[in-house]
Symmetry: C2
Subunit: 211 residues, 2 copies
Amino acid sequence: MTAHPIAANDGGSPDRREEVLAAAAECFMRRGYEATSMDDVADMLGATKGRVYHHFRSKPELFFEVFRRAISILAREAGVHETGPGTAAARLRRMARAHVLCMMETQTFQRNLTLGVDLYRFGETSAEHRATLEELMDLRRAYEDAFRRTFAAGKADGSLAAPDPSLAMRTLLGAINWVAVWYSPRHGETRAHRETLADGIVDQVLQGYLA
Amino acid sequence: MTAHPIAANDGGSPDRREEVLAAAAECFMRRGYEATSMDDVADMLGATKGRVYHHFRSKPELFFEVFRRAISILAREAGVHETGPGTAAARLRRMARAHVLCMMETQTFQRNLTLGVDLYRFGETSAEHRATLEELMDLRRAYEDAFRRTFAAGKADGSLAAPDPSLAMRTLLGAINWVAVWYSPRHGETRAHRETLADGIVDQVLQGYLA
């Protein structure tokens, strides 16, 4: 996980693909899905449109990959703690802390999740793209469900006190998702600064769910 | 406050202006600021572009008015409770509850607040528009400050237990702002249903801040 996904790189093709993906995430976040063109992504990279098309056939395909990446980062960094040691409260804390760090360190990707939900709800898409969007919404739901299950587990093991696990999942995720809206890295900020901020956020937020 | 701001209306000019504003809020929410054109707003209204221009000179002006309206609704419905009776915790509860109801009932307008922050951070605007955006960010900050002050007041009167009022303001607002992202009205839903849902959300969220 890196704070600056657009790294200088003149190496092989997989890294080039990553650069295109990171530039696209930045463009979509700044201008929205509809207004972003493949030209914008190329401009952000300082490259030709051909380079973008070399890796992704179309704008929807590029956007879907950004969305998929955002969710897979969350699943790998945060969702994975669902099955860790300790009480449900301890696991929830590790999940929430890692989620907050993802919001900070892969902010451009994470902001694309809301855009994807809006595209799903309001966008006019082909049947093929609609099917992909359905699949992406399922991935997002599966990730969020880890939080819902952990709230339910915490009711069972007595470590969490949320009467409604679904509502708790929504309010907790709202508080921590919002970090991607307000967070802006400070000059000279380190990982340690972000961890301290994440601890403060999680301490405050979890307070309302502990038994 | 109305759940369906695009009301059928063939009356005088003030109502016509309201309809244009509501249609614009809907367009910006669906497609983003950049991708929305005055034509889109006219199409959403089923009217000519001339009718849109009759009330608003330009797209930025129309967007700024949507943003201003979103904040003034929040200030009028929720911010006003800052000076009500009871403890800071009681006032915070009334503010948060009204805020959640605004997220539900004027969702299209409220979603434009995040778009405005993005436009402020990332948009390329003229000096004149930049000055207006600064003013709008100040309005938003002034509204959020009511929450910060109430957390500080709650520390003083012993009714709230948030160690850091600024962080508490951000995490609480995140949890309740997120309602505008996930909420979708159910068929046949009434004001009473929304109030019950708002009470559940606020009960859960405030739990973490009470002394």
